[in-house]
């Protein structure tokens, strides 16, 4: 196997030394060089003098479409820039936590894992944002309007971009409610939710315990907590918890999917989208077993075809849908429940996984 060739760009001489050292512990990665600013030109620091990280990213995406992994600092400022980078087509990011020295091994493993995934990825496709999504009216949250469907989404690498693409296509009167588990560290999810809220017609918010599941609303699970759904007399809520990591993740899509299956059964809809690993696959099976709908993103539109593949291979995905058709499918699924009909969504390019049919 030819080694993955990596270029490290950082304005800190220390990081230019440290990162290659980390990477060289893995024999399948070759650091071809380091550069102090974007004029050289794949780990990437976003705060650099000269050609800054964001400018450089635009340049890379315009010219070469190389996968870029952002090494981001853990701050409000850092989160904002990092998310901007992700929406511009960065493959993924690794957060440098405050106690970076103590957690070096984990960070090293994460970085190496993501680099390898990036090398195998088909790359991030930059999709134009849905037209008019910004100008359209904003969803108004009304406690009286109970959601028709509870949609749980599990997503990892490539997620920020994919979610942005899908959510921006959902209309303000979207009848379902969405709960998202996006593998992302603490601090980033809040910024991510706010970004989505700004550009989408539906309301997006980082979930807090006790948040009510409302039609036209999407709740993003905060980093480093688990999220579950719960039915209560006055309405359905999201509940956060601090249980241990599942599949190495917190939040874990499996935790969310399991609670979806337990609480909502056939009313639940679980969606497993692009990402490394197999988090969510088992949960998707539970949702399916409980009579709910399960959807996996198709291989072609995945940045990393890991989690959906795990579910599809095990026959847990009832439908396999391309990212382009995802918004329509969700819309149709939410509507179809109201109409009590199970007609397949109109004009979707989704194909049915054979294993999923009875």
């Amino acid at each position: 196997m030819t080694p993955v060739r990596v270029l490290v760009v950082d304005d800190s001489a220390l990081m230019r030394k440290l990162i290659p050292q980390i990477l060289q512990t893995d024999s399948s990665i070759e650091v071809v060089g380091t550069a102090m600013d974007g004029n050289f030109g794949l780990t990437l620091d976003l705060e650099m003098p000269g050609m800054g990280g964001i400018d450089m990213l635009k340049e890379i995406m315009r010219r070469h479409r190389l996968p870029v992994i952002v090494v981001s600092s853990h701050s409000t400022q850092g989160a904002s820039v990092t998310l901007q980078a992700l929406s511009l087509g960065a493959f993924d990011f690794v957060a440098k936590p405050v106690d970076v020295s103590a957690r070096m091994p984990q960070i090293a493993a994460e970085l190496i894992g993501k680099i390898k995934a990036a090398a195998q990825s088909r790359g991030v496709q930059i999709r134009p944002m849905a037209e008019g999504s910004r100008s359209g009216s904003k969803a108004s949250l009304d406690a009286k309007r109970t959601p028709t469907k509870v949609i749980a989404v599990g997503v990892s690498t490539g997620g920020p971009q994919a979610l942005q693409y899908v959510f921006s296509q959902l209309p303000a009167d979207f009848p379902g409610t969405i709960i998202v588990v996006q593998h992302m560290p603490e601090g980033f999810t809040e910024m991510f939710a706010r970004r989505l809220d700004e550009i989408c017609a539906i309301c997006v918010k980082e979930a807090q315990s006790g948040d009510v599941l409302l039609a036209g609303r999407a709740l993003i699970c905060p980093g480093s907590r688990h999220i579950k759904v719960k039915r209560l007399p006055l309405g359905d809520v999201a509940v956060l918890s601090d249980e241990p990591r599942i599949n190495g993740h917190r939040p874990s899509a499996d935790v969310l999917f399991k609670s979806l299956a337990d609480e909502f059964g056939p009313k639940g809809l679980a969606v497993l989208m692009t990402g490394m690993g197999d988090d969510g696959a088992q949960g998707l099976g539970l949702v399916k077993a409980a009579g709910g709908m399960t959807i996996a993103q198709n291989e072609e539109s995945c940045v990393v075809y890991g989690m959906p593949k795990a579910a599809i291979d095990r026959g847990f995905a009832i439908r396999v849908v391309a990212l382009d058709a995802m918004a329509n499918t969700l819309q149709a699924q939410s509507m179809s429940d109201r109409r009590r009909g199970f007609t397949a969504g109109s004009g979707e390019s989704g194909k049915t996984a054979g294993a999923g049919q009875d």
């Binding site: 050289f40 020295s101 249980e243």
Partner: protein, 749 residues
């Protein structure tokens, strides 16, 4: 793994200390610029980037105190409004100093300096934009702690794990209601629509109660009997043992009845109630809540004000290259030195070969191989020269590394003295040997400091003299021949030579009589004498560090010289002349008393031939008429024996110039020039300062290198005291002297 990672950690830290010095320097640079252009947003950004990098690097090395502080500063800078940029520069300076002190402490493994003043500045900075909104700040603070708390618990059945909150669990001062979750709000609405009264009950648990969690349960049970509990803080199943209990109760009963139920003796010490107003709006909660969450998730840096020790003197000067382009290797200076040593040996080897070849050629002049030998040797010597130059180049660093610290220094000193001074630097890219650069750092700092505190007058005085109010100091560096010149020129009042003379006489450095004899330049040289201060009063600024005598000592030790030029009312120039490098010099070889010596070629201005009879005696010294000049001469060897033919004896005179002074050295014979690799001599081998080092010649002979400044010094000092009045025999050894029988000597035992 652990072993290698330990090693890696040490290496990382090393690199960190090095790069962080650069970062601090840049921080100083940018802060200076910001002070001049307070409105430049780009500078603020640049400062923030520097702090950002420092933060990341510090975190990677596990220096959390520094990382946290930098983080706080970065955040404060991000929220900065352009209006307060002048204060920002101050903060940046303070940050650079504090960071520097912290770094020094980390490096020595010492106690960290107090960071409290900087932390306070940062806090003020980050709070400033918000103060306009007054009470809003306070509100958001309370909200923040509530949001943090509410995050901990779900409305029902959430399993809370033992999760340590990073923030201090301070109770809001007022009786602010906790942030109820959406579901709880929904429940309030629902209860109200059913005609219930909803109360927010705050119950203080008796501080003497040993089981606060049980107390909580008691209250809950009591309330559940008379109403519906919609929510509790802390959460019902939470292990948190708070001293305060917040309850949301829907009931048809009156406040008094509920309150009475809560008052469980020896468990609950106080109860207060509040009717929750109707219709909590649930519409558009998302926007409001996200803002709140934003405040909550902004990491709260902690400030470590642990040790109140004063900050150590600022960290050591920057040592590394100023513009780290990507292909730079950071190499231990010692490794380069050892390469240089080897190159030195090679050069000696080359000389040996050359010598052997010359002899060989003499022996067999007809040998055909001679040409080929000669070619090969020419080639070898050319490569060797390149090699030597390359290695020397490695050691060369731009003088900017040193210059960079001066803008800040000038600013600080000027501020201290209440003066207005501008520093203009030129020739920062002039290369200089690294060891030289390090060595001149102190003297140069002293000179610059002096220029500001003594040289430049106060603004009023300057205006009175018809000069611009702002004084200017020029710091210039350039190559001149085989030397590097560093000039510090101020446009201040100049040095008053009469004053120096008076002071020198007063402090008994010279006598009245000597004073009369001294020329202008000689008087100026007196400032280098220990114990002579040109300032009327000794200020804190100029009193620090090294004195002028130390400046001269250092420069002389480096085989350089200091020149002073001054004009009353127009300013003073100090000119440091330094050899390009310390390791290898071109030298002129000469013989004195059958012994071979070398003198650095750059000290030799001219070689003259003269006859013994051309040397005259004036007063007590010997002079030589050289063209239209009268040149004082020094005999390095024995004075000529008086005889008939002695006057006709031919002598060589090396004209050396040191600063303002020129001097002739009388030597016996000359033996060409050679590149010498200087070997240091320890004090045991040579007990005189007249010799600065030694080298090995191609034929294996050892040659001593004379210390030109010391000779010049000796000449100027020795004159009047000499009984015989003639300076001679400087280089005679004790044995020589015995033979020569008591000729005056300067060589110390």
């Amino acid at each position: 793994m652990t072993h290698s990672s330990d090693e890696r950690g040490a290496e990382m830290r090393e690199l960190f200390f090095e790069t962080s010095q650069e970062l601090l320097q840049s921080l100083n640079d940018e802060a200076l610029k910001l002070e001049k252009h307070p409105a430049d947003v780009e500078l603020v950004r640049s400062i923030r980037r520097i702090v950002h990098t420092l933060k990341g690097d510090a975190a990677a090395c596990g220096f959390h105190e520094l990382s946290n502080l930098a983080h706080a500063l970065e955040d404060a800078l991000a929220s900065e409004s352009p209006s307060s940029h002048d204060r920002l520069a101050e903060v940046a300076f303070a940050a650079a100093d504090t960071f520097g002190a912290m770094l020094a402490a980390y490096q020595r493994g010492g106690k960290l300096p107090s960071t409290a003043p900087l932390a306070k500045m940062i806090r003020e900075l980050s709070q400033q934009p918000k103060t306009a909104k007054g009470s809003r700040t306070k509100l958001s603070k309370t909200k923040l702690s509530n949001a943090k708390r509410s995050r901990k618990a779900g409305p029902a059945g959430a399993v809370p794990a033992a999760r340590t909150e990073p923030t201090a669990r301070t109770e809001p001062a007022g009786r602010t209601a906790p942030a109820w979750t959406e579901y709880e709000k929904l429940a309030i609405q629902n209860a109200q629509s059913r005609g219930r009264n909803v109360f927010h009950i705050t119950a203080g648990i008796d501080p003497l109660c040993l089981m606060p969690i049980a107390a909580r349960q008691l209250v809950l049970n009591a309330l559940k009997a008379s109403g519906e509990v919609l929510g509790t803080r802390p959460e019902e199943s939470s292990p948190e043992s708070a001293k305060r209990l917040d309850l949301l109760v829907a009931s048809t009963k009156s406040a008094e009845q509920l309150s009475a139920r809560c008052r469980i003796p020896s468990v609950i010490s106080q109860v207060s109630m509040e009717l929750v107003a109707g219709a909590v709006p649930t519409r558009k909660i998302s926007a409001a809540e996200t803002v709140e969450r934003k405040a909550a998730s902004a990491p709260l840096p902690f400030f470590d004000a642990a040790s109140p020790e004063t900050a150590e003197e600022h960290a050591r000067g920057d040592k590394t290259n100023h513009a780290p382009a990507e292909n730079i290797l950071r190499v231990d200076a010692q490794r380069i030195d050892s390469v240089l040593d080897l190159v030195g040996e090679l050069i000696i080897g080359k000389s040996m070969l050359q010598q052997a070849f010359t002899e060989f050629a003499r022996h067999v002049p007809k040998e055909a191989l001679r040409g080929r030998f000669s070619d090969a040797m020419a080639f070898q010597s050319r490569v060797l020269n390149d090699l030597q130059r390359s290695v020397m180049k490695i050691r060369m660093v731009p003088v900017e590394q040193l210059f960079r610290r001066f803008p800040r220094l000038v600013r600080d000193v000027a501020k201290q003295c209440g003066k207005d001074v501008e520093l203009v630097m030129r020739g920062q890219d002039t290369d200089l040997d690294k060891s030289l650069l390090d060595a001149i750092a102190e003297p140069l700092t002293h000179l610059v400091r002096n220029a500001v505190s003594h040289g430049i007058e106060s603004s009023e005085e300057r205006v009175r003299c018809g000069k611009p109010a702002r004084g200017t100091i020029h710091l210039t560096s350039y190559h001149h021949g085989n030397q590097v010149i560093v000039e510090i020129r101020d446009d201040g009042r100049g040095i008053d030579s009469q004053k120096i003379k008076a002071k020198a006489v007063e402090t008994a450095i010279i006598t009245e009589e000597e004073a009369g004899r001294l020329g202008e330049s000689a008087i100026l040289e007196l400032v280098f004498k220990p114990g002579l201060s040109t300032a009327d009063e000794i200020t804190e600024v100029s009193g620090r560090g090294v004195g002028m005598d130390v400046v001269q000592n250092v420069i002389h030790r480096l085989k350089g010289s200091v020149e002073i030029e001054t004009r009353a009312g127009q300013g003073t120039t100090f000119r440091l002349k330094l050899p390009l490098t310390l390791a290898i010099i071109r030298a002129l070889l000469f013989n004195v008393e059958q012994r071979r010596y070398a003198i650095p070629l750059n000290a030799v201005a001219e070689i003259a031939r003269a006859k013994e009879s051309d040397v005259h005696q004036i007063h007590n010294y010997e002079v030589l008429q050289l063209r239209d000049r009268v040149l004082p001469v020094v005999r390095l060897g024995r004075p000529p024996e008086l005889g008939i033919e002695s006057g006709a004896r031919k002598i060589f005179v090396l004209v050396i110039s040191m600063g303002e002074r020129t001097l002739g050295l009388v030597v016996d014979s000359l033996h060409g020039e050679e590149e010498l690799v200087i070997k240091a001599l320890d004090d045991q081998s040579v007990a005189t300062d007249l010799i600065s080092g030694a080298s090995i010649l191609g034929d294996g002979r050892v040659v001593l290198i004379v210390n030109v400044p010391a000779i010049v010094d000796r000449h100027s000092q020795a004159r009047p005291q000499q009984e015989e009045g003639i300076v001679s025999g400087l280089l005679l050894s004790r044995a020589d002297r015995k033979n020569a029988d008591a000729s005056p000597s300067e060589v110390r035992p």
